[in-house]
């Protein structure tokens, strides 16, 4: 208890939960309600955001480095395991709190317009509120188990929202795939929790981190195993190699969901986790390298796939995976780079949410147009779009801002955050050359990012229009309730860099200083790194050049006149086809893992072991054996009473015989 607004922290998730309960009840009882649902759904989020701001301000005013921990009730008390339901307010969680409730509010508002016509309106908002509840639990939880509640809870909401239009098998499949992939990650999280508990005797963040230096040998097997298992959890939740394949499929959900869950908040939970446990990762250099390496590889790999996707949301999905990879490179680097990762997390939340919502506007418009002409073309395929800038000027402008931001064009937000990461990574390259490779991969990714994002913008908004003439007359800008959040996000994408203007530009690097208490203990464990100012400027130059090459290259190389609508487009050939088919990773997983397991389960375990060996040979075999013995003894039962009498008499005689002797 601090006696300030910080104490109100519990209200934020409680409001979201209240929204879920009310909207959920409405969804079951009066599915047609819309106004009340909108008011509740958006209202609780705005309320949570307001609380977030109040908490943040009060926390700043406290001027404390130590986290403020609230314990509400004893959840799982068994022996030495004492898990409380508690929240932790510190520098990291407040930033996450603001990002989640702020971006969440905007996306809720956008959804009011986007989902207006949907029959599952109330259900949608119920899920969305529930998601925010779990997300807040995730970022505010003061112990691993509480965080895990949020961790799995957001996965659940993701599952429900991806399969929101469940009448389509593809959507339902995608939801299930997301959940199961996430569960693979959760397996890692759980095992890591067990190891942490038995090593440090607690699962509270505070206790674990204060005991960690004594409980573990830095660089030892235990801490490495723990961090690797934790990172397995992250690869599931944050869609990294090898568990990333669910995220592109997750685009089956409504677009605002993709913006909120699959771009801005949930998928960054892994980054948050690594940042939260930065001390542990700092104690396990191998794990740090693995995190950074996997992040760098994922960033590049996903970017290559994004090059050849036609579905506007899939491009953004792979872009998200790629950017998440960036963040992992940062948090894997550890130390001060944590703040770079969180910085990129925040700016990415702004511009990627903007991109998704913008694409949502586009899809919304395309849908209405196709609806008006009773066409069944794919409203998300960029080959069917083109020249939309004339019809949707606001959306076009705002999405260009986001595109330039993600490409890293100065002075937009993405430039600062990306540059910060690259600087930190290259700085680590001096003591550990592996990081030079990661940085290089990051630069290549930056080039590809600029390229495919420009490609997306060009195909969607520029060039000749490829919708039919009938549809063209129905293409309009989305209503203000959808464009207004876009505007706010556009502003944030433009100016988000102000959060953390590095000292290089004589900024005050506010976020970096703000997050210092979080990473303080791990900085000491990491090698000293320093980059000369000249080198830093050179890096900035290279990054800007790379972005420029990407954008200009796309402008020059892509021929907008030769694109044909999706239904008549020829199949790709050669390497393009491999990229188009996502390196066939889904197919490989299916052939190597899914199918063998299903086959093993059905044919071997069930039909053979269970039904034939155990049930057939052993159980029913015993029954058959008994019956055979009975059959063999049947001749004794002649049914002739005379024989029975004789046998009976023999028995009597035998008894008498015994009596005689």
């Amino acid at each position: 208890m601090t006696g300030t607004a910080v104490d109100l922290i519990w209200l934020a998730p409680a409001l979201a939960l209240l929204g879920f309960v009310l909207n959920g009840t409405l969804a079951l009882a009066r599915p047609a309600t819309k106004t009340a649902v909108s008011i509740i759904g958006v209202g609780v989020l705005l309320g949570a955001f307001a609380i977030g701001i109040a908490v943040f301000r009060s926390f700043v005013a406290l001027h404390t480095d130590a986290p403020v921990v609230f314990q509400y009730w004893s959840w799982i008390p068994v022996g030495s395991l004492q898990v409380n339901v508690g929240f932790q307010v510190d520098q990291l969680s407040t930033v996450m709190l603001l990002v989640v409730t702020g971006v969440g509010s905007l996306i809720h508002i956008f959804s009011v317009g986007y989902m207006q016509e949907d029959p599952g309106y109330a259900r949608y908002f119920a899920y969305l509120n529930l998601f925010v509840f779990f997300m807040l639990l995730l970022v505010l939880g003061s112990s691993f188990p509480v965080m895990f509640v949020g961790w799995e809870g957001v996965g659940l909401c993701s599952y429900l929202l991806i399969g929101f239009w469940f009448s389509d098998k593809v959507n339902a499949d995608a939801g299930r795939k997301a959940f199961i992939m996430n569960r693979i990650g959760d397996f890692g999280f759980m095992v890591a929790m067990f190891m942490i508990f038995w090593s440090t005797g607690s699962l509270d963040f505070g206790t674990v981190f204060s005991h960690a230096p004594t409980a573990f040998v830095a660089g030892g097997g235990a801490i490495t195993a723990i961090t690797l298992f934790l990172f397995l959890g992250c690869t599931g939740k944050s869609a990294q190699i090898p568990l990333y394949t669910w995220l592109p499929d997750a685009m089956a959900g409504p677009t605002p969901v993709s913006a909120l869950i699959h771009a801005a908040t949930m998928v960054t939970a892994g980054v948050y986790l690594v940042a939260r446990c930065n001390l542990l990762f700092a104690m396990a250099p191998v794990s740090g390298a693995v995190v950074a390496g996997v992040g760098a590889l994922t960033a590049l790999f996903a970017a290559t796939i994004a090059l050849k996707q036609w579905d506007i949301k899939r491009v953004l999905a792979y872009s998200t995976i790629s950017q998440l990879g960036y963040m992992f490179v940062a948090v894997g680097t550890g130390g001060a780079a944590i703040s770079a990762g969180i910085f990129h997390l925040a700016t990415h939340a702004f511009f990627k949410a903007l991109l998704f919502l913008g694409s949502g506007s586009v899809i919304f418009a395309m849908h209405r147009a196709y609806h008006a002409s009773h066409s069944h073309e794919d409203a998300q395929d960029m080959r069917n779009m083109g020249g939309l800038a004339r019809h949707m000027p606001w959306t076009t402008t705002l999405m260009w801002i986001a595109t330039l931001a993600i490409a890293g064009v100065p002075p937009l937000s993405g430039f600062f955050s990306k540059d910060e990461i690259l600087t930190a990574v290259f700085a680590r390259g001096t003591p550990q050359p592996a990081w030079l490779v990661f940085g290089g991969l990051g630069l290549v990714t930056a080039l590809l990012t600029a390229f495919y994002m420009t490609r997306l913008m060009l195909y969607t908004f520029h060039g000749p229009n490829r919708t039919g003439g009938e549809e063209r007359r129905h293409l309009f800008e989305a209503p203000w309730i959808m464009t207004a959040p876009l505007l706010v996000l556009g502003l944030l994408s433009l100016a988000g860099g102000l959060l953390n203007v590095p000292e290089l530009y004589h900024g005050n690097a506010w976020l970096q200083h703000w997050l210092e208490p979080i990473s303080r203990s791990s900085v000491a464990l990491l090698p000293e790194t320093h980059l000369a100012t000249g080198t830093e400027w050179m890096l900035v130059g290279i990054a800007v050049a790379v972005a420029a090459i990407g954008i200009v290259g796309a402008w020059r190389l892509l021929n907008l006149e030769t694109i044909v609508p999706a239904h008549s487009a020829p199949a790709e050939r050669g390497f393009a086809r491999v990229l188009r088919n996502k390196w066939y990773v889904d197919e490989i997983y299916d052939a190597l893992i899914v199918r063998p397991i299903v086959w093993l389960s059905r044919e071997v375990l069930w039909k053979w072991i269970d039904q034939q060996v155990i049930d057939g040979a052993l159980v029913n075999g015993a029954a058959r054996g008994t019956r055979a013995v009975g059959w063999a003894n049947r001749w004794l039962q002649t049914g002739q009473v005379g024989v029975y009498v004789a046998v009976f008499l023999v028995g009597v005689l035998l008894l008498l015989w015994r009596a005689m002797s």
Partner: protein, 173 residues
């Protein structure tokens, strides 16, 4: 003197019993059995059981055997059936088993099977009892005192048997 008569009746009983089990015709069998029962009644008299002897004649030789004959005649089984007696194998089996049984009974029922003389009543005490209480009274005494409950149960049993016999034998109730 008594012993001689006892043996005479014993031989009659055994002989007619043998005839009873070997005659083909059921009516003949039944009549030979009646002879056995009469001979037994005579032996009961010599064993100081005059009342039982009377019952034997009345109940067994009279009632029960008449019942048998009735049934035989009712079912018209007065002629010997072709398969009524088993063949040589059956005969052999019966002879062997019965012979063994007889041997065992004789061994078991020999002198050592008799109650020790210490608990035996002095000879003639039964007759003395009958003289004191009367022939019927000597049996009735314990029957209605010591064995009252079994006696009642026996009556219930007979009642049940009557009902059961009626139910079974009647074509339609």
């Amino acid at each position: 003197m008594t012993l001689t008569f006892f043996w005479i009746f014993g031989v009659i009983a055994m002989g007619s019993a043998l005839l009873c089990i070997t005659r083909r015709n059921p009516v003949v069998c039944a009549l030979w059995l009646v002879v056995t029962l009469f001979a037994l009644a005579a032996m009961y008299v010599m064993l100081d059981a005059q009342f039982i002897a009377a019952l034997q004649v009345l109940v067994y030789a009279g009632a029960i055997m008449v019942l048998f004959l009735f049934v035989i005649m009712l079912l018209n089984l007065g002629r010997p059936g072709p398969t009524d007696i088993k063949g040589p194998v059956g005969l052999l089996l019966a002879a062997v088993l019965a012979g063994t049984l007889l041997f065992q009974l004789r061994v078991l029922g020999g002198a050592q099977a008799l109650p020790p003389s210490a608990i035996q009543l002095p000879p003639g005490s039964l007759a003395a009892l009958q003289a004191r209480q009367g022939i019927v009274g000597a049996v009735a005494g314990p029957l209605f005192e010591t064995y009252l409950v079994p006696f009642e149960i026996a009556s219930v049993l007979l009642l049940a048997a009557i009902v059961g016999a009626v139910v079974l034998a009647k074509r339609k109730l």
